[in-house]
């Protein structure tokens, strides 16, 4: 039984890291711009389809495709920012919220229109579905390599982003913009460019997530919904705007989902995650590590 339980914890952590990767971009966008990007899951879907088509049409493995999809998503983010988000930022909060949701519906159905609703999965990738067998406390446990890769990618992306924000000049400008746009502008920071950067970086993050997910997950137009709600919860638990908070939030909900589903009623595991989230947010309204309201 302890063997199984360790496995459950391992799975929880792996999935948690994956949720975190989706959440990091969301957290960045929220922290800097104060926008709840409900279309985030649908950008994830676009990233997945991007990696998928690269693999199918050009034979580029997702691992290499990462180098193409991520910048492509960055540019897509730029384009969306220029055309829509500039306006959404200025709109009242509620309108902005609904507009991003509408954008999500639009993208989802655009994907449906372009590529049909079929469920797709990549068969032969470099990683394949290798499994590492490890021995913990005398039992045999398994770690799926594609999931491990996605989790590792999540940690790496989070670390990179964290370093970028805390250590580079642009990153600090980004942070200043997040704290107070007016003051940042007075200090000579081009806040418009910072917004654009934050949004595009957020979308690029989700491009990384999408590409790594294609290694082991199904791809279809509605796939984003599965992730965006959990990502939202991870971000709020961690504290909006906090990069490492999103990571820890992701790990927490991954564990709750996995362990809760194993110990309790699996069909209610999502409800459990939402319930824990509501409790955390009521007790600590700014999340665990939040620096933005």
């Amino acid at each position: 039984m302890s063997e199984l339980f360790i496995q459950v914890v391992i799975e929880g952590l792996l999935w948690g890291a994956i949720y975190a990767l989706v959440a990091v971009g969301l957290s960045l966008i929220w922290g800097v711009m104060g926008i709840l990007n409900l279309a985030h899951g649908d950008f994830l879907m676009l990233g997945m389809f991007g990696a998928y088509w690269l693999a199918i049409l050009l034979g580029i493995d997702p691992l290499i495709g990462l180098l193409i999809v991520t910048p492509a998503m960055f540019i897509l983010g730029l384009g969306i920012y220029k055309s829509l988000i500039t306006r959404i930022v200025k709109a009242p909060r509620l309108t902005a919220l609904l507009a991003t949701f509408g954008l999500g519906i639009f993208l989802r159905n655009l994907a449906h229109f372009l590529w049909r609703a079929d469920y797709r999965m990549l068969g032969d990738t470099l990683v394949g579905d290798r499994v590492i067998t490890v021995s913990i406390l005398g039992g045999t446990n398994f770690i799926s390599v594609p999931k491990l890769l996605a989790a590792g990618g999540s940690l790496a992306a989070t670390a990179l982003l964290y370093w970028f924000i805390k250590r580079t000049k642009t990153g600090r400008a980004l942070q200043a913009t997040a704290m107070n746009r007016q003051s940042a502008a007075l200090m000579g920071i081009d806040t418009e460019r910072m917004y654009m950067l934050a949004y595009s970086l957020g979308i690029a993050c989700v491009g990384v997530a999408g590409t790594l997910l294609t290694n082991f997950f199904i791809i279809f137009p509605e796939v984003g919904i599965m992730f965006v709600l959990f990502a939202l919860v991870a971000v709020t638990i961690g504290g909006f705007g906090s990069i490492h908070g999103a990571l820890i939030g992701g790990l927490i909900i991954g564990l709750i989902e996995s362990v809760g589903g194993f110990v309790g009623i699996p069909a209610l595991k999502q409800a459990l995650v939402f319930a824990v989230f509501v409790i955390v947010v009521v007790l600590r309204p700014r999340g665990l590590f939040g620096w933005a309201d």
């Binding site: 709840l36 509620l94 609904l98 639009f106 509501v278």
Partner: protein, 336 residues
């Protein structure tokens, strides 16, 4: 201190004109189902009215009070379930079930939403969204209330008392119309009462509201209770109209979102906002599906998504078109 000025003297001519337009519009609404007679057209009209009603209900907490609640579909579902199950289990007439559902929804919302009132803006939005999801998942897995199998309402002879009509949809339309008239009358009253002023003050600034003697948490709770009460009433109407309810199609996130898109599209926190938003949104949804949905390429949803995005170009909603000085000038001119 200053002498009082008489309040708004109503000139008989304007008064007559006002009522003339109102009566004309109301007559048109009464006659509408006889102008367009197909069941599908009636269905669209009923949905428009139902969402006008839901939008008005949401407006109380979301529009006037400014607390963006994203879990209203759950209360819609609670209303539908309460009246249906009360009929099946206890033989309670759905008209009473409607009020019982409202009361139950108020009770549930008081317990789960009260702690959330200290959350601000987006945190409140996400918390209510999560609570809505929890309720939906609980209903999906709660076998006592049918679980995922849903609840099928027993067919009864059609009558107003039974709240079931099989040969025609007209009664549903008129019931929805009466409900809408009711909520409009109530909102009209609220807008002009202490409650309405307090709710708007809370939206503008909670700090200022507190300093003026407003118990913010209490008034938020009052607003939420009124809002979910009516939302649950609409749930009963829906259950009696479709005669089959299941949690997956009754309480999805999409319904919660649509409930708040309706007033926001029309103008959040305005009396006529939902009445303007609902026809546009629902007709777009229903007819784009009817015309384009059969192709199965998702174009209809793309249109709906585009409409939702388009709100940012007029953040005040459609009613804001009628509030500018230019419009007032024009209106004064045609009024003579």
């Amino acid at each position: 201190m200053g002498r009082l000025k008489p309040l708004m003297v109503r000139q008989p001519r304007i008064f007559w004109r006002k009522n003339y337009i109102f009566a004309l519009a109301f007559a048109l609404l009464l006659a509408l189902p006889f102008i367009f007679t197909a069941h599908f057209q009636h269905h669209v009209m009923i949905k428009v009215l139902m969402f006008t009603f839901l939008g008005c209900a949401w407006n109380i907490i979301g529009g006037y009070t400014g607390q963006v609640a994203l879990g209203h579909a759950a209360f819609f579902g609670i209303g539908a379930y309460t009246s249906s199950l009360c009929y099946i289990w206890f033989g309670l007439n759905p008209w009473f079930g409607m009020f019982l559902g409202g009361i139950l929804a108020v009770a549930v919302s008081a317990v789960i939403n009260y702690p959330c009132f200290r959350l601000h803006g987006r945190y409140f939005a996400i918390a209510t969204l999560a609570l809505g999801m929890i309720i939906r998942l609980l209903f999906t897995n709660w076998r006592l209330v049918g679980g995922a199998l849903g609840v099928r309402l027993p067919l009864l002879p059609e009558s107003l008392w039974n709240f079931q009509f099989h040969t025609t949809k007209l009664p549903y339309y008129y019931i929805a119309l009466v409900l809408c008239a009711l909520i409009f009358a109530i909102l009209y009253k609220i807008e002009r009462s202490k409650l309405g002023f307090y709710l708007r003050a809370i939206k503008e600034s909670e700090e200022a509201a507190r300093s003026l003697g407003i118990d913010v948490a209490k008034y938020k709770l009052v607003a939420m209770s009124i809002s979910v009460f009516f939302t649950a009433m609409a749930g009963t109407l829906y259950a009696q109209y479709i005669l089959y309810i299941d949690p997956i199609s009754l309480m999805p996130l999409m319904t919660s979102i649509l409930i708040c898109v309706v007033p926001v599209l029309g103008g959040a926190g305005t009396l006529w906002g939902p009445a303007l938003g609902a026809p546009i949104l629902l007709i777009a949804i229903e007819y784009s599906r009817a015309w384009l949905g059969g192709g199965g390429r998702g174009i209809d949803y793309m249109i709906v998504g585009a409409i939702m995005v388009a709100i940012i170009f007029r953040p005040g909603g459609l009613t804001s078109f009628f509030q500018g000085p230019r419009f007032r000038q024009w209106w004064r001119r045609i009024r003579g």
